[in-house]
């Protein structure tokens, strides 16, 4: 049966080893094997702080999902970690080798798929490198295609191959399945789970899909008011089943945190 596997990090009443100060959700303390370390990050747009004194740790090899209502600043946080947004205050540490996959695949339409995969790689890697990466995401047959002839799912997989070929220590995924149809999304999620298990890189997945977060992540963060407002651990073996009662319970909790009340019958059906 479901056991109580998630916990809020160090809620004051159950603190066992008191840290030097109150740790916040998102903050993990130990920095020996950190892939991401963010302290007191603030990012303002025209005086309005979208990210306001945010703290976050991601361990190497950890899969973290970041949930939040639209406009809560989760994509901004990802862009900061990617180094695309530098108008920030605070301390941000991220691996040098990182890769981003955006919601839109953002392939250069004038470059064939394999050239897109190699774009920006240091040195002069050969076509075989791209072929290997594309084969890994199941696109071995579209190596020579023009990006605009790919289907939505294929384009997203090409974008994933382009990210993975960089052998990143941190993979940043910005709602990569958002634009895919429901069936393609399931296969794409499975692919990401497989690739992550094989590569062992840290992943930060920004999404608004609670189920997706629960299926994939070790830890699910909820961003609200410019900070990591809440987090749950998902200590379940993979592959996971969304019908798992624990996941259903976490789902209700997370939806509540996101300001959505899960309809009761949906939870009952699961049992």
């Amino acid at each position: 049966m479901a056991t109580e596997l998630h916990r809020q990090v160090n809620p004051p009443e159950q603190r066992v080893n008191p840290p030097e100060r109150d740790a916040r959700p998102g903050e993990e303390g130990g920095s020996d094997d950190a892939a991401v370390r963010v302290r007191s990050l603030t990012r303002s747009f025209d005086g309005r702080a979208v990210i306001d004194d945010l703290h976050l740790d991601v361990r190497t090899g950890e899969f973290v999902a970041l949930l939040g209502r639209s406009g809560c600043g989760k994509s901004t946080l990802l862009r900061v970690l990617a180094g695309l947004d530098r108008e920030i205050e605070g301390e941000v540490l991220a691996p040098r080798r990182k890769a981003v996959a955006f919601q839109a695949p953002r392939l250069m339409p004038w470059k064939k798929v394999w050239r897109n995969v190699l774009l920006g790689l240091p040195g002069r890697p050969g076509r075989a490198v791209a072929e290997r990466a594309l084969k890994e995401v199941g696109l071995g047959h579209r190596v020579d295609a023009w990006p605009k002839t790919l289907s939505g799912g294929e384009a997203q997989r090409a974008s994933l191959a382009r990210a993975l070929v960089r052998e990143p220590d941190l993979l940043l995924l910005d709602e990569p399945f958002g634009a895919l149809d429901a069936l393609t999304r399931i296969t794409a999620q499975q692919l990401v789970a497989e690739l992550w298990q094989r590569r062992g890189c840290a992943v930060l997945l920004v999404t608004h899909d609670v189920e997706e977060a629960l299926l994939l992540a070790d830890r699910v963060l909820v961003m609200d008011g410019g900070v990591i407002a809440h987090q749950v651990r998902v200590d379940r073996d993979r592959p996971r089943d969304i019908a798992d009662p624990l996941l259903a319970e976490l789902r209700t909790e997370l939806l509540g945190r996101l300001g959505v009340r899960a309809p009761e019958p949906a939870v009952n059906e699961v049992v």
Binding site: A82, G83, L84, A99, V100, F102, A104, R106, M108, P109, W110, K111, K112, L119, G120, L121, P122, W146, P147, K148, T149, R162, R166
Partner: protein, 269 residues
Amino acid sequence: MSPVLEPVVPLSARRRTVPRWLRRTTGPLLLLVLWQVCSATGVLPSDILASPGTIARTASDLLEDGTLPHAMLVSVQRVLIGLVLGGVIGVSLALVSGLSRLGEDLVDASVQMLRSIPWVGMIPLFIIWMGIGEAPKIALIALGVTFHLYLNVYAGIRGVDAQLIEAGTALGLGRWGLIRHVVLPGALPGAMTGLRYSLATAWLALVFGETINADDGIGFLLNRAREFFQTDVIVVCLIVYAALGLLADAIVRTLERLLLQWRPNFTGK
């Protein structure tokens, strides 16, 4: 009572008696026949407009004695030199103002200002500056080409999807890498449009330049024919202008097909 049923006839079952291309050529052919009939019956005197038959004969005569090929060579040469000159200037200016904010501030305002001057109106100044040789004609062509290419290449550069530039940055491309792999290929469709417009302008500029003063080229033939009321020669020259314009357009289309094959919506195939 059951309703009366009638068959839905497939469209393919309607047999076309005459193919479309034939029907489309019938109109122009009829016009040509009408023209010939009017000329033959004297309704259309030859000093107003020569008959199609006469024009065809004149064309073959001019081709045979080498007058027309020579004139065409001279005119095409002028267009090519003007095109290259204007192309280099226009594209360079567009790159300067498209790729840097400083360049934009320095170049764009000036070009936009000069653009509002009708280039045909520059002819008198060009004659004063450069005399009546090849220089003013080529300058006129280059001028027309420069503005079209500048505007379209500049708009193309500035129209490149910011998301792609961001993706390029995330992939680790530097400034030069972004220009080479993202900005310039992204501006290519605009540049091709600019090339097409500038070719049309180039031919127009050629006609203007050659009609005013020339001792060689198609414009010269045209002017001399005017003095002798040779309407047949005039029409031949006009047809040559049109044909060369069409040829130039075909070349650009081929170029587009080669360079823009990544665009799935490309319809030039």
